[in-house]
């Protein structure tokens, strides 16, 4: 079953065209890694899928719903969870309240049940003992795990990760990628924009290389990382793997 489908997607910021006709299909249970230089359009692609950016051309389908149709665009949030580079936790709410906010206000689940579900979501990321902590009292890695729990609590069909570990100190990256690995093993459909090539190689079913707003090459990590066919891919991989 196709969870996400992009057809000839065009996206511009004023005069700057960031996505120049992107086609992509993601099947249920697939983990797709998106790599590319900064400014290549990879984050924009995730944001387009999650209806955070309007597009100027093409189609975006999520679970058969036309997200490019403004009337139906907001339905995407019922099926897709997103994790951001800057965590974007709500600083005035505890970890648990961050997780239960949408359960109560969007899904209209009563406080007791929402609390139970929130604690369960925090448990999945190993932070049930931090339920009462405010974001400022948590490390970056813990904040990002709460952000993952906030998305997971809503039981999404797809999770988008937009450079989820880029803002973390190196020693904290592992705890977040650990949670992401576990999710992948549980069969979650995932689109992951990342610079963690080790994670990409281990967890990805498919790697997509974006260059200047287009998909330049895609394939299984074993092939794409060892013998890329596109010279731009080769160049990019050489740069990131030999830092």
């Amino acid at each position: 079953m196709t969870m996400i489908e992009l057809k000839n997607v065009h996206k511009s910021f004023d005069d700057l065209e960031v996505l120049k006709g992107v086609d992509l299909a993601v099947e249920k249970g697939e983990v797709v890694i998106i790599i590319g230089a900064s400014g290549s359009g990879k984050s924009t692609m995730l944001r387009v899928i999650n209806n955070l950016e309007p597009i100027q051309g093409g189609e975006v389908w999520v679970k058969g719903i036309p997200i490019h149709d403004p009337k139906r665009a907001d339905e995407v949030h019922q099926y897709v969870g997103m994790v951001f580079q800057q965590f974007n936790l709500f600083p005035h709410l505890t970890a648990l309240a961050n997780v239960t906010l949408a359960l109560q206000k969007v899904k209209k689940i009563d406080a007791g049940e929402a609390r139970r579900m929130g604690v369960a979501a925090l448990k999945r990321v190993g932070l049930e003992d931090k339920a009462g902590a405010y974001p400022a009292e948590l490390s970056g890695g813990q904040q990002q795990r709460v952000a993952i729990a906030r998305a997971l609590a809503l039981e999404p069909d797809v999770m988008l990760f937009d450079e989820a570990t880029s803002a973390l100190d190196p020693e904290l990256v592992g705890e977040v990628t650990g949670v992401m690995r576990q999710l992948a093993e549980e069969g979650m459909t995932m689109l992951v924009v990342t610079h963690e090539m080790g994670f990409a190689r281990d967890v990805g079913d498919r790697v997509v290389f974006i260059d200047e707003g287009q998909i330049a090459e895609e394939g299984p990590p074993a092939i794409l990382f060892t013998s890329p066919s596109n010279p731009r891919t080769k160049q990019f991989l050489y740069r990131v793997l030999h830092r």
Partner: protein, 216 residues
């Protein structure tokens, strides 16, 4: 006669104090409500509302409160709304004027909340109203508190202009006392002190709230 005259007039001063306080509190409540609505709507950049809200803001921010007050008081009489109380006229003028200034405080506060907060809130499916109510405004509150209290303190002093349309607030009562016993310096010192007694606790409360907000 000395200070005894002022002490004998304390009943009149107290009436002025109560009237100033009443007008101030009523304006704070209504002006904040108006400012909040206008600030949120302006920050939301709703195309149809853009021009009218901008015009409201610029007109009331860009003209003297005294002129607005006179305009509303005598304008109401001109329109045949006879018997509009001075209190109502003063309250309407103050609310419109302070509401315009307060709306800018709220708008700036809302726009100071990082964009990612709104995006995260949309991603978990909150509606536009819910995003403002549960995510943006609670964070805005701590940002706007200091300038808002500053505005309230200015507002208390702005109520003195209501003396021009004959509302019996502190300054007008003070002048009534001076008309009777003279001693303008002493009377105005006492009046200034009463304003200070109203305003200074507001500064203290603001400081305490600010501290508490930082700890949360």
């Amino acid at each position: 006669m000395g200070w005894q005259g002022i002490i004998d007039s304390s009943g009149i001063l107290f009436t002025g104090f109560v009237n100033t306080l009443t007008l101030s509190i009523a304006t704070i409540i209504l002006g904040t409500a108006l400012g909040l609505v206008v600030g949120v709507l302006r920050a939301a950049r709703i195309p149809a509302l853009r021009a009218p809200l901008r015009i409201y803001l610029e007109v009331f921010r860009g003209s003297p409160l005294l002129v607005q007050m006179l305009f509303i008081y005598f304008g109401a009489a001109y329109l045949g709304l006879r018997g509009v109380e001075t209190f109502i006229a003063a309250l309407v003028a103050l609310t419109l004027y302070e509401g315009a200034l307060i709306s800018e405080i709220f708008r700036a506060g809302i726009e100071a909340v990082p964009r990612g907060q709104r995006e995260a809130a949309r991603s978990i499916g909150l509606s536009r109203f819910q995003i403002e109510r549960y995510v943006i405004l609670p964070q805005t509150f701590t940002i706007v508190l200091p300038p808002l209290v500053g505005q309230y303190i200015g507002l208390v002093k702005d109520t003195a202009l209501a003396t021009a349309i004959g509302y019996f607030e502190l300054v007008r009562e003070g002048q009534a006392i001076i008309d009777r016993i003279g001693m303008p310096i002493e009377v105005f010192v006492v009046i200034a002190a009463i304003y200070f007694v109203i305003c200074y606790p507001m500064s203290l409360v603001a400081r305490r709230l600010e501290k508490r907000a930082l700890h949360a």
